[in-house]
Symmetry: C2
Subunit: 155 residues, 2 copies
């Protein structure tokens, strides 16, 4: 199972690298159902001027369209960074079965770090959460992004 987690997280990381290449904050996501990737996305908030264009929102839209149903009961979401409240609730609304993430999000993490929306009894669904998968690589990608911004300020 751990090997499965790493295999799909590598796909989410490849999405995060696409974001980095565009100068976007590097977060990637893939949605997996029955061993198949049915949705993928990376953060494109700056390049699309869309405040909601986080990796998870894009991947969920693609996944729903692919299977012709907004209910993704048997699907798992792999995300390189712990989701924010918008994306955590999007995953809950979609009835995602399991959320597997890489690095903790100390500013906006809603799967336990800043908020815990997952275990909130008022919520309509309670996905299982696995954290720390490929954490180091996810953090390194974010560090690359922060360093690129620092270098820019000297240009």
């Amino acid at each position: 199972m751990t090997v499965e987690y790493e295999k799909y997280m590598d796909e989410a990381l490849s999405e995060a690298r696409k974001a980095l290449d565009k100068g976007e904050f590097p977060v990637g996501c893939v949605i997996v159902m029955n061993g198949e990737i049915i949705g993928r996305g990376h953060n494109v908030r700056e390049t699309t001027s869309n405040p909601t264009a986080h990796a998870e929102i894009i991947a969920l839209a693609e996944a729903g369209k692919k299977i012709g149903n907004w209910r993704l009961d048997n699907a798992d979401a792999y995300i390189t960074l712990e989701p924010c409240p918008m994306c955590t609730q999007a995953l809950i609304l979609a009835r995602i079965r399991k959320i597997i993430f890489g690095a903790k999000n100390s500013k906006l993490g809603a799967c336990g770090t800043v908020w815990d929306m997952i275990n909130d009894p008022d919520n309509i669904s309670h996905p299982i959460v696995i954290q720390g998968v490929r954490e180091y690589i996810s953090i390194k990608l974010i560090e690359s992004f922060v360093n690129s911004l620092r270098n820019k300020s000297y240009e």
Copy 2:
């Protein structure tokens, strides 16, 4: 100012009616900046199979694209129903100045009814919230939707 609120809420209600006509749960939203509607949307979760296709997410995407910036600091959001946590956080992330809504959302309202994300000190932005504008019409639309479901079960 009250007249302004009602004027734009009527536009949000016309969006909600479009959702109702499609057999969708009737919620509508418009984003207003400097007296101009820059984004509009209605719930199309069923017809698009997209779990994130709430009125607010669609209206915010359109607004960002329209002004070429995901930051909507000087914009206000008019929504017929109190936003859920996904949409409340989307509005917060977009730096929306003011959230004006019609009816309270007793199941998923995140602007005070079930959760209060607006006054959460951990959040990055704190929009002003006005509630109850055209509340009666918003509730009537939702009742129409519920009644149409009931009638369907007898068909």
